[in-house]
């Protein structure tokens, strides 16, 4: 390992977490007025904004993709140039962003009931304000909450989490330092109630005996994430309902 101890002898990680502990999560729904659905998610120092527009009539450059039996999902991922330690020169349109956008799009294509919105388009816009590892996961979680806020039908929540392996211990919800230490990184998006894996990606080398173990802890992390997200949605709905009844 590149001179960096990811896990101390006492069993704590660099930022003081236990191996299976998620970072502090803060999320809010309905943060913007212009979008049909929006959310803000903070996972430790990773901060993401998501906004959803749609379902609406497909825009002119999407006309060719119109389908008569399902909707088009359009995803744009953008990372603020001040979001990382080194300034990013292109906030979007570079290969990494396009790759990320494609992955998020595919994740949600399989989770949204696309057949309910024929000949329409749903836009998912993601903006990373600060990046500290597990960007894909934070984006998926933020997009799920925004879709819930927009009232678009989904099969289930989609919750994402990442994990890495250091000294035989799985580290859940890895931050930037752990991400760049060069260990294998497994991120997955899960539909927790249906118990299905929607997306998984493994970066780096991992022994096949250990994949199962790491994947299990990722799924556990996703379930933890789900508990937080569901609570947020419930609180948001309660608040909205109480606003209705009092005015």
């Amino acid at each position: 390992m590149a001179g960096l101890e990811l896990i101390s002898d006492q069993g704590y990680r660099i930022d003081g977490r236990k191996p299976t502990e998620l970072r502090q999560i803060r999320c809010r729904l309905g943060v913007f007025t212009q979008a049909d659905g929006s959310s803000y998610v903070e996972q430790g120092n990773t901060k993401v904004l998501a906004s959803i527009y749609g379902p609406h009539e497909p825009s002119s450059n999407m006309r060719s993709k119109i389908s008569h039996d399902k909707c088009i999902i359009n995803c744009e991922y953008s990372q603020a140039s001040f979001s990382s330690a080194e300034r990013k020169h292109r906030p979007r349109g570079d290969r990494k962003s396009l790759d990320m956008a494609a992955h998020i799009k595919q994740t949600f294509e399989s989770c949204i009931h696309t057949t309910l919105y024929p000949r329409s388009q749903i836009d998912i816009f993601l903006q990373i304000l600060q990046s500290d590892g597990s960007n894909y996961c934070a984006c998926v979680n933020a997009a799920t909450l925004a879709i819930v806020d927009a009232g678009i039908a989904m099969k289930d929540y989609v919750c994402a989490c990442s994990a890495s392996l250091a000294k035989g211990t799985t580290l859940v919800d890895i931050n930037h330092v752990e991400e760049s230490a060069g260990c294998a990184e497994l991120s997955a998006a899960v539909m927790p109630k249906l118990n299905k894996i929607v997306y998984s990606e493994l970066n780096g080398r991992l022994h096949e005996d250990e994949i199962g173990k790491v994947l299990d802890s990722v799924v556990l992390g996703c379930n933890d994430m789900f508990a937080v997200m569901e609570r947020t949605v419930r609180e948001h709905v309660e608040e909205t309902v109480s606003n209705f009844t009092h005015s």
Binding site: Q34, A35, L49, S59, S78, A80, S83, R87, L129, Q130
Partner: protein, 279 residues
């Protein structure tokens, strides 16, 4: 009053962008969101929320929300100004903030606001560019000021100026020395200094509805209904330091004077907000 207008039926009528609807309100001297003609929307300002940036701020003017992050880098100076630092503003109006904006290269409006901020920085000398110089003709600071609009509800200019200024006041630059012997750059991250600002401008935007009604701090809907715009920038002493009126309908002198008076009052209000937030 506000809750009545914001009821579900009111919201429906707000979306129907008819002049008549707006005129009916103006007859009563009130705007659809319950404000008086010259009343500004409430403002929220937060600084230093993004730790990866050298300086950052988040501003909400009504529903319009702008995040500004400033990244400081070391670079070689321009050959024409060897002893001066560089400040590069950039405003982003992505489709995330409003359905009005389409994906792709920056739209006209974003470029106009960027240019406005650039002009403001250049013409009012708000940052002492000599302070950003580390070594003449060799090394200077370049400040990339990226402003991202995350919710667009009109008056992006005022929100941008406020967030840029708040973020600039929040910037902390580390001490940099050039080691003469080995010609290497030494950065002392422990010793940081805040940026010295020569002036602290506040902009106030007005729009002209139907040639005679001046409204302050327009929302997105009001921007679509009105024709002319007037932006007045004041500094901390209440002096007018910059003005922009990009065409549109003609304005009478008395109107301009009225706007100037309002801009000075608003300037003082925002200055106290800066003081409260940055301490």
């Amino acid at each position: 009053m506000r809750t009545v207008i914001k009821s579900s039926t009111g919201q429906l009528r707000l979306n129907d962008k008819s002049d008549d609807f707006y005129k009916l309100h103006l007859k009563e001297g009130i705007r659809p969101d319950g404000r008086m003609l010259m009343e500004m929307r409430p403002m929220v300002l937060n600084v230093g929320s993004i730790s990866t940036a050298s300086g950052s701020s988040l501003v909400k003017v009504g529903n319009t929300t702008v995040v500004c992050g400033i990244k400081a880098e070391l670079t070689e100076p321009n050959a024409s100004h060897p002893g001066k630092g560089i400040v590069v503003p950039n405003v982003e109006l992505s489709p995330l903030c409003s359905p009005k904006f389409k994906p792709g290269p920056p739209c006209d409006q974003a470029q106009v606001v960027t240019k406005f901020l650039d002009n403001l920085i250049q013409s009012t000398n708000l940052i002492c560019l000599d302070d950003l110089c580390v070594e003449n003709d060799k090394l200077v600071w370049i400040l990339y000021c990226d402003l991202i609009c995350i919710d667009y509800d009109g008056n992006i200019v005022d929100a941008s100026v406020i967030s840029l200024m708040a973020a600039l006041q929040n910037v902390k630059l580390p001490e940099v020395k050039i080691n003469e012997e080995c010609e290497s750059v030494e950065v002392n991250l422990k010793c940081t200094a805040t940026l010295k600002l020569c002036s602290c401008p506040v902009s106030t935007t007005f729009r002209v509805f139907d040639r005679s009604n001046i409204i302050a701090d327009p929302t997105s809907m009001e921007e679509e209904l009105t024709e002319g715009q007037l932006t007045i920038v004041t500094d901390q002493q209440g002096r007018i330091i910059y003005m922009e009126r990009p065409g549109g309908v003609t304005l009478q002198e008395e109107h301009v004077e009225k706007c100037m008076k309002r801009a000075v009052i608003r300037g003082a209000e925002v200055q106290t907000l800066y003081m409260e937030v940055t301490g």
